[in-house]
């Protein structure tokens, strides 16, 4: 299934990770009050996006199911988790972190199967960062008085997470909430519910008190029922800016505290003195990591005109070595697009981009030669040159492995172009000049600035956006504020 790039004299033998370690059940219920229960609604199928094979049937939570989950969370908050000393809450979180490490391979394989991401990334990035996140926030549970955000939890948190990093987003939501003494009802994305349901089992193994964590599966309607439930004190959402705006409207006039981590259209800015080979690695990591399904992806490459040709030649050469294919193959760089719907959106915007940039000098659409598997959802790494700021591929979040290349001459032009977006989640800067890095870091209106690196994450490091990329921060000491009064 893994394809060999054309002209590559070094063929790779298949190196498949065994999926025997995961035990996917035929059907899953909801995790409410510490038990798996049948929902009152219908069910939906979750598939492997690399093969379109049905993996399991998953219950679709109704309003009544959501209500039961919120009530279970409230009861656990009032009776158990709220009154529990921080040092005891901490120990539960440490236990969870340890079990995640112990079952790391299983989680990574399951994540790869349900999401389509390469096993290399699930194994080396997602799962270790998930465990680290629980470790980090576990330690805060009995030290909140030192953080400067008070020590009073909010109550019940309703959390809705996306499909691009299913387990990692779960950790970003649940770990700080629980450390601060809140209980949670979490809805995973409808295309990637399986690792959240495995996490529910982990909560059982950790003997986490019933109702502290509740998982309700479903689609948009379930999420809407959750965030608008009057028993929810806190809404945390990661996903699209449109849904984020709808949530902001729906909580208007309530006392609900809200954090929103939404879309982005990050500029990755390369100056002429940058170490170009390093920059190329950063650009590739910035846009092709996780198939570009990353809200902070460096989807707009801004390259200084004087090195544009040289950089593009190196970038294309590097892109030609990317291996697209079986997510479970350990040599795979780019896995499957998560869903048919997302693939359609990527195709649509790419076709629009192709028409927009035209075929004039230095303009066009380009992908390395690669054979894509015939079943499943695939999109080759793609770049557009000759992109202008007005083009939709320079303005709209594509959320796929598609890079728009623009050029600039001066630092002020780079700042102007980078900030010319309603988003403000992340940005990248590549230069050897320290003062220029700091100048750019100051001038870029983005919540995370990666200088001479990209797509780095750490539990201690706050993450979140400016402007329409949302509000609130996740991670670090700052991340506690979202879950305390």
């Amino acid at each position: 299934m893994t394809t060999t790039p054309a002209g590559d004299v070094f063929a790779y033998a298949p190196a498949p990770e065994s999926r025997a370690i995961v035990d996917i059940k035929a059907s899953y219920g909801l995790f409410v009050g510490g038990e798996f229960v049948d929902g009152g609604g219908t069910s939906f199928k979750t598939i492997n996006p690399a093969t379109e094979e049905v993996l399991a049937e998953v219950a679709e939570a109704t309003d009544a199911d959501v209500d039961a989950a919120v009530k279970a969370a409230r009861k656990a908050y009032d009776k158990v988790w709220g009154p529990m000393p921080g040092r005891e809450r901490a120990k539960y979180l440490y236990r969870i972190a340890r079990i995640i490490q112990e079952r790391g391979r299983e989680l990574a394989v399951l994540e790869s199967i349900d999401n389509g991401k390469p096993i290399r990334e699930a194994r080396d990035v997602d799962v270790p960062t998930v465990a680290a996140h629980f470790f980090y926030y576990a330690g805060w549970a009995d030290k909140l008085e030192y953080a400067g955000h008070g020590t009073t939890p909010l109550g019940v948190a309703g959390q809705v997470i996306p499909w691009n990093f299913p387990l990692l987003m779960l950790a970003w939501k649940i770990a700080p909430a629980l450390a601060c003494g809140n209980t949670v009802v979490l809805k995973p994305a409808e295309t990637t519910p399986l690792t959240a349901l495995l996490f529910a089992e982990i909560c059982q193994q950790a003997d986490l008190p019933a109702g502290v964590v509740n998982i309700v599966t479903g689609a948009g309607a379930t999420g809407q029922a959750l965030v608008s439930h009057p028993g929810v004190d806190k809404v945390a959402f990661t996903g699209s800016t449109d849904v984020g705006k709808a949530i902001a409207r729906s909580v208007a006039g309530t006392d609900k505290k809200v954090t929103l981590e939404l879309g982005g259209k990050a500029a990755n800015i390369v100056f002429d003195d940058a170490p170009l080979d390093q920059a190329v690695e950063g650009i590739v990591n910035g846009i092709f990591f996780n198939q570009g399904h990353v809200c902070c992806a460096g989807s707009r490459l801004l390259v200084q005109e004087s090195v544009a040709d040289e950089l593009l030649a190196k970038l294309k050469r590097r892109m030609s070595t990317l291996r697209v294919g079986d997510p479970l193959d350990k040599n795979t760089d780019i896995g499957a697009i998560n869903s048919a719907e997302q693939l359609a959106r990527i195709r649509e915007l790419s076709d629009i981009g192709e028409a927009e940039v035209g075929t004039g000098e230095g303009a066009g659409r380009w992908s390395p030669a690669c054979d894509l598997p015939s079943t499943g959802f695939w999109f080759p790494p793609t770049l557009f040159t000759g992109v202008s700021q007005a083009h939709r591929i320079a303005r709209e979040e594509i959320f796929g492995p598609v890079l728009s290349v623009l050029t600039f001459r001066t630092p002020s032009e780079a700042v102007e172009k980078a900030n010319n977006t309603p988003y403000g989640l992340s940005a990248g800067v590549w230069t050897d000049k320290g003062s220029l890095i700091l100048h750019m870091a100051n001038a870029l209106r983005a919540g995370v600035v990666w200088a001479n690196t990209f797509n780095k994450f750490d539990p201690t490091s706050p993450f979140g956006g400016y402007k329409e990329s949302g509000y609130g921060r996740e991670g670090g000491k700052h991340g506690l504020e979202a879950y305390l009064k």
Binding site: D255, D458, G476
Partner: protein, 290 residues
């Protein structure tokens, strides 16, 4: 009493460092606490609100790029000039809030002291709410607060001076610029405060003050795509209006400081919330290596 006819002041808006009348040509009668006519105040319109946003946006780059030390000095200068104009502010507070001189005196004391307090925050906020983060890898990683941008401030309806100062200072001390809608019934201290700002080295456009009704001006600010945040404190208790404004603000995901049930006690320790509500956190990574 002399026979001299006094020269009355025209109370105008404060936009971009200038004192224009409302472009609408409308004004409204302002009375003292006993209902006696005092002056006609400009009734700010939608166009005035938009002009003020343009002025605030224009001023944002320069103001936010000033050193924190410089912003501290300028806010301290505002306090100095206010102190210098004490009798005028005491009279204005007596008149608008119906306080006895002794109590109006205390209000002015508190307002000046509040400015001094906030002025000192300019170069300490980053140290209190910023953080160096010990990431698990060879990276420098620093989180610092930055101003969110243009902030619409609905100033308190009751406390026409102390409340106003307590709402405006925390917004601008960190580098934001503000479009302020004053108390409707008690707008005159706000105009006098604008005159202090205009003579205290505060760059034009950093604070813009509109006199008029929050219910008519605020919707245009809440829905304005170039406003980054809105403070609803000034419409305490007006649940429906507050909800409508929060809904409108969602269109470009403005940061919203919600309206409390009742106007806060402005003599209480303000804490950090009024400042942190209008800050963004920026985290910068850089590799460490040879």
């Amino acid at each position: 009493m002399s026979d001299r006819i006094d020269v009355r002041k025209t109370y105008k808006l404060y936009i971009g460092g200038a004192f224009p009348r409302s472009e609408s040509g409308y004004s409204y009668e302002v009375t003292d606490s006993k209902g006696t006519f005092v002056a006609n105040a400009s009734l700010a319109s939608r166009k005035d609100a938009r002009d003020a946003v343009v002025a605030a946006r224009k001023a944002f780059g320069g103001w936010s790029a000033r050193t924190a030390y410089n912003r501290a000095q300028i806010l301290y200068r505002v306090a100095e000039v206010m102190e210098d104009r004490r009798p005028q502010f005491v009279r204005a507070v007596e008149q608008s809030e119906g306080l006895r001189t002794k109590d109006a005196d205390k209000v002015v004391d508190a307002a000046v002291d509040r400015l001094v307090w906030y002025a000192g925050w300019a170069d300490k906020l980053t140290q209190v709410v910023g953080n160096a983060n010990p990431v698990a890898g060879p990276f420098f990683n620093l989180s610092t607060p930055e101003p969110t941008g243009v902030v619409a401030v609905l100033a308190p309806q009751g406390s026409s001076l102390l409340g106003l100062v307590s709402a405006v200072a925390p917004v601008v001390v960190s580098g934001n610029t503000a479009v302020v809608v004053s108390s409707y019934a008690r707008p005159l201290p706000a105009v006098t405060f604008a005159e202090v700002l205009a003579t205290s080295d505060v760059p034009g456009g950093v604070v813009n003050i509109l006199t008029g009704a929050a219910a008519t001006v605020a919707p245009w600010l809440a829905s304005h795509q170039d406003v980054n945040a809105i403070d609803l404190t000034g419409i305490a208790g007006e649940t429906q209006l507050a909800t409508d404004l929060e809904v409108a603000a969602a269109d470009n995901l403005k940061r919203v400081r919600r309206a409390p049930a009742a106007e806060p006690d402005w003599s209480a320790d303000p804490g950090l919330d009024a400042m942190t509500a209008f800050l963004e956190t920026k985290t910068v990574w850089h590799p460490i290596g040879v």
